[in-house]
Amino acid sequence: MDIDEWINSYLSGKLSEKERQELARWLDVSPEHKSMFCKELRMRLRVLAAVKNSRLEQMCDEVWLRVLPLVKRSRRKIISWWVYAACVVLVVGLGGLLFWFLQPDVIEAPVVLSNVLQTEAGNTKAVLLTSIGEKIVLTDSVLSHSVEIPGVGLIQDSLGVRFVEEEESIAQEDTMGWNTIIVPERGEYFVTLTDGTRVWMNSASKLEFPVRFAENCREVHLEGEAYFEVTPDTQKPFLVNMGEKQVRVLGTSFNVMAYPEDNKTEVALLQGKVSFDVAGKVFVLNPGEIATAERVKGEVMIRKGDVATILAWKSGVFNFEDMDLVELTVKLSRWYGVDFVFEDMAAKELRFSGAVTKYRSLDYVLDMIAQTTNVEFIENQEKIIIRTRER
């Protein structure tokens, strides 16, 4: 084995006992060997880190969800003096930084809290409708009961669900059906398809995919929002269908937002290349580009934008850039399962930029908005009324 394969195998823990001894002996031979090994190890560790970067981020998010309940249960009261000192500086600084607005003139005491406002954030959950019509509730724990789907094995782990093709059942009639994963409001879910393609599904979204992909293409249907990391396969392009619109890919990462009730469909490309097909027209996207198709007019616009901001939802962050309050409340209602009503039409025009972690309760998020603008949020009959505050 070469030195570089030695290092790679060492990093992935795949060196046999004999190989380890061999390598140790080789290192002992001369100091040059050692320094060469160290240099390569360093470089390869970085490549490993880069390749595993999104996986690591995912693990971080998962474990944070494990740690978070504990933090919430045992709140700490004691704050040491220097945190206090930092506090003064930060409040002054952060207040301005967190959200910047059109009308930064009013800063008042936070609004009264109530039950709906204390709604907990969403979490990992989904429903699986199998090709044979079975309905299975998926949560972040183990499956409630074992399921048999013809031709497919199902592996549920702490992250989500993974579909594995079973080699032995080649009988065609068994494997013609479609599975559907439905993520409700207040939910999010992670699915790995049989070809290894990974899909992060956002709240109120539906993904349909065949039990077995066809010979010449991999086709899925999406309603709602999802981020795809498609396993490369030039022989079988990956197609995401959203009604009459379609995204065609070979192997790439991109976000699709196609809620039937929204008046636009959006595709944002992080890596690789995709084509966005709308009513017979083909639009090719390059990394960093975002395509928006208007529902009514059918117009397609392509712009350069901050794709990372759009993808932030997947890493547990609400991220909004120059977003109006209407769009923002639509996003919040999908995640918290709460309805918003505008009492004051002027409030609809307000635009926001900022970020907040998704796992806070609703009142925390609304508070941040209320503290920096002159809108207020009031609970009324299970709904949240939005109006501008009296000066």
């Binding site: 070469d2 570089d4 394969e5 195998s9 060492y10 990093l11 992935s12 823990g13 795949k14 380890r20 390598l23 140790a24 050692k34 160290c38 190890l41 360093r42 470089m43 390869r44 560790l45 970085r46 490549v47 490993l48 880069a50 390749v51 595993k52 970067n53 999104s54 996986r55 690591l56 693990m59 971080c60 998962e62 474990v63 944070w64 494990r66 740690v67 504990l70 933090v71 709140r75 704050i79 040491s80 220097w82 945190v83 930092a86 930060l90 409040v91 952060l94 967190l98 702490s158 490369p232 192997g251 990462s253 890596q271 901050d306 990372a308 901001t309 932030a312 962050v317 970020a355 972690t357």
Partner: protein
């Protein structure tokens, strides 16, 4: 290409840093988590290899950190050392429990690994990630097979139906490309390491 990725990562980091309110205990705690969990994961994986074990270690370390007095008493600058030490000790304990022996090779690599993760440069890692994604498909597949799935060269060659020499050549060229791409920043990075 390079510019885009830099912008994206820069933006994201910035967002993560400002969204947390460090004046509360919860905010401060989360800030530490967001700041260090990724390199800590990589550090834990260097001891344990198995992802589930690493997840257990990281959650244990942070839960203990939250519960312990350490959280209130130590200053921000010392938290990093504290967390990395805890992860190391917890990993070693776990290995002992599983009666896995660490050999000379592990000890030899430990310093390099520790230095790398302690000086984690998120932007650099993201840029490397981005650069890999723009490589030819074959090369990318090989890099993923080797680094993500930990496959041996022969296994990769068999899977892709190409010769082992092609695998070696493509991988070597890929890494060489990354080295040249990031040469400047790697040096700068090392320089920062040296003057500390």
């Amino acid at each position: 290409m390079y510019k885009t990725s830099k912008n994206i990562s820069g933006k994201k980091l910035y967002m993560v840093e400002i969204q947390l309110d460090k004046t509360t205990c919860e905010g401060r705690f989360e800030w530490f988590y967001r700041m260090y969990s990724k390199p800590l994961f990589l550090y834990a994986l260097s001891f344990l290899v198995v992802e589930e074990d690493a997840e257990d270690v990281i959650s244990e370390v942070f839960i203990n950190f939250w519960k312990s007095k350490a959280f209130e008493q130590i200053q921000d600058e010392a938290v990093k050392t504290y967390l990395f030490r805890s992860v190391r000790n917890t990993c070693l304990n776990l290995l002992k429990k599983k009666s896995i022996q660490r050999d000379i090779l592990d000890e030899f690599c430990e310093d390099v690994l520790e230095q790398e993760v302690m000086n984690w440069n998120d932007e650099l890692i993201r840029d490397i990630e981005f650069e890999i994604s723009t490589m030819p498909e074959r090369t990318r597949e090989i890099i993923y097979d080797v680094f993500f799935h930990g496959m041996k060269y022969q296994e990769v060659a068999d899977r892709l139906g190409i010769s082992i020499n092609t695998v070696k050549t493509l991988l070597r060229n890929g890494i060489k490309h990354l080295k040249t791409c990031f040469a400047e920043r790697m040096d700068l990075f090392l320089y920062i390491l040296l003057i500390r």
